[in-house]
């Protein structure tokens, strides 16, 4: 079953494009470079920020990211960013407040799109390998691995809960009641996630886990 908001499986080994052919280290370095440069461009040089945005869009296009895919992701991200940016002029009476807001919107959008590009061109397994080579903390790498694994399971869980709700909804619930039920579903999902975390912890203990995270060398 397709779902417009399902978690992104990210890049796969079968993807081919100019961007996909780059070395994994280069992909991650480029992404980090874009994020850092975007954050460092001074406020008054906003055209440079705009150029960076155009460059990221071009990279996304080269990577074969479709407009539909981009639009879906931006539809989730931009409203939250918009509201967050508005908090600056609301909280501050300074004349530069709106400039700060615009700058924040641009920088965050550039960084978000750069992240999307990375997800699209770098399979997670390769990302974890690069992080290991760069000597990132193993706990951080393990957490990314767990997150990638369990986001799909929790998504399936949520889908089942929603199906169970819809099966007994009969289309007659008011908007307020729908919101209430949705909040209950999210609470239930949280509880189930906690129960699963407990069971997973037991499964780790059963295979000798002692709190240290070990991994296979990537060059093997």
């Amino acid at each position: 079953m397709s779902d417009s908001c399902s978690p992104d499986a990210g890049a796969t080994a079968s993807d081919t494009s100019l961007c996909h052919g780059l070395p994994a280290d280069a992909k991650l370095s480029l992404t980090l470079l874009v994020v850092v440069v975007s954050g460092l461009i001074p406020l008054e040089h906003w055209p440079a920020q705009g150029l960076l945005l155009v460059a990221v869009f071009m990279a996304l296009s080269l990577a074969g990211v479709t407009v539909r895919y981009l639009a879906r992701r931006l539809a989730l991200f931009l409203p939250a960013l918009f509201v967050f940016g508005l908090s600056i002029p609301v909280a501050s009476a300074e004349g530069l407040a709106w400039n700060w807001t615009l700058s924040l919107w641009l920088r965050c959008t550039v960084s978000f799109l750069a992240g999307l590009w990375l997800i699209h061109v770098l399979p997670l397994r390769e990302l974890l390998s690069v992080l290991r080579r760069w000597h990132c903390p193993v706990v951080l790498i393990a957490m990314i691995g767990f997150m990638y694994r369990y986001v799909f399971i929790l998504w399936d869980e949520l889908r089942r809960l929603r199906s169970a709700r819809d099966a007994r909804d009969f289309g007659g619930a008011s908007t307020w009641r729908e919101w209430t039920i949705s909040a209950q579903l999210i609470g239930l999902l949280l509880l189930r996630a906690m129960e699963r975390a407990e069971r997973t912890h037991r499964a780790m203990l059963a295979r000798g886990w002692d709190g240290s995270i070990r991994s296979l060398d990537d060059d093997r």
Partner: protein, 251 residues
């Protein structure tokens, strides 16, 4: 003369923190290479019993005479010995998604051997052997989310086999499996040379795999004996919320 037990429970009792008494005074011995099924109604304490074999629940209070209540190969399943007892007892969980927590099949199967402190060559050799033994050799780079339930279950087993346990403890191994996946699992488990302890509602699976059955109900062992004798006894089966399997009716 009694055979030496690889797994022994001595007067095991366990109460959950919410006050529910899950196990009452359970004593039994499982000999090496024996295949034992634990059957009983839901809530009888089957999973709780299995988890004690691997030290996955808080250790029960040591008895007054100073003896622990669960032993694996003569070693008490208590905190100081958990590493050794868990090395000997492999545990297959009911839901494969609880057990497959790594982003790829290879990483997941390697998890146990890495925790055993083996070197990378040995770990990789065990990963290959483990996956080959369950017929999943070509799946190393796959994300477990892309696999079917049967395939996930087999990868879980590969992860357990990779630790080379002498006792295999299985909690509802056939749940959610289609007939083909169930048959594959049965073939794999028949080929396992060690001791098996299986908690299941699938009584046909028990007939095909196990030579001894423990009936657990209300936290107590209600019957213990050869598979066919226990499962074909309508009195025992009916009293404990079970049914005589079709294959054994009329015997």
């Amino acid at each position: 003369m009694t055979e030496p037990a690889i797994l022994e429970l001595r007067c095991l009792s366990f109460r959950y923190p919410n006050g529910r008494l899950a196990l009452r005074d359970i004593s039994c011995r499982v000999a090496s290479r024996e295949r034992v099924a634990v059957v009983g109604p839901s809530g009888a304490g089957k999973s709780t019993l299995l988890m004690h074999c691997n030290g996955l629940l808080p250790s029960p209070p040591v008895q007054q005479d100073g003896e622990a209540q669960v032993f694996v190969n003569g070693i008490a399943v208590t905190k100081p010995h958990l590493r050794e007892t868990r090395r000997q007892v492999g545990f297959l969980f009911q839901d494969p998604d609880d057990q497959l927590f790594c982003p790829t099949v290879r990483d997941d199967v390697a998890f146990g051997p890495l925790n055993l402190g083996l070197d990378q060559h040995e770990v990789l050799a065990r990963v290959e052997r483990g996956l080959a033994s369950v017929g999943m050799s070509g799946f190393t780079a796959r994300n477990p989310a892309e696999l079917s339930t049967g395939e996930r279950k087999r990868v879980c087993l590969a992860g357990v086999f990779a630790c080379e346990p002498s006792v295999l403890v299985l909690d509802e191994p056939t749940s959610n499996l289609d007939p083909r996946a169930r048959r594959q699992l049965l073939t794999i488990l028949r080929a396992f040379a060690g001791t098996l302890l299986v908690a299941t509602h699938d009584l046909d699976f028990v007939i095909d795999l196990c030579d001894r059955v423990l009936v657990l109900d209300d936290g107590q062992v209600q019957a213990d004996g050869p598979t066919e004798r226990i499962l074909s006894d309508p009195l025992i089966m009916d009293r404990h919320g079970l049914e005589v399997p079709w294959r054994l009716r009329g015997r």
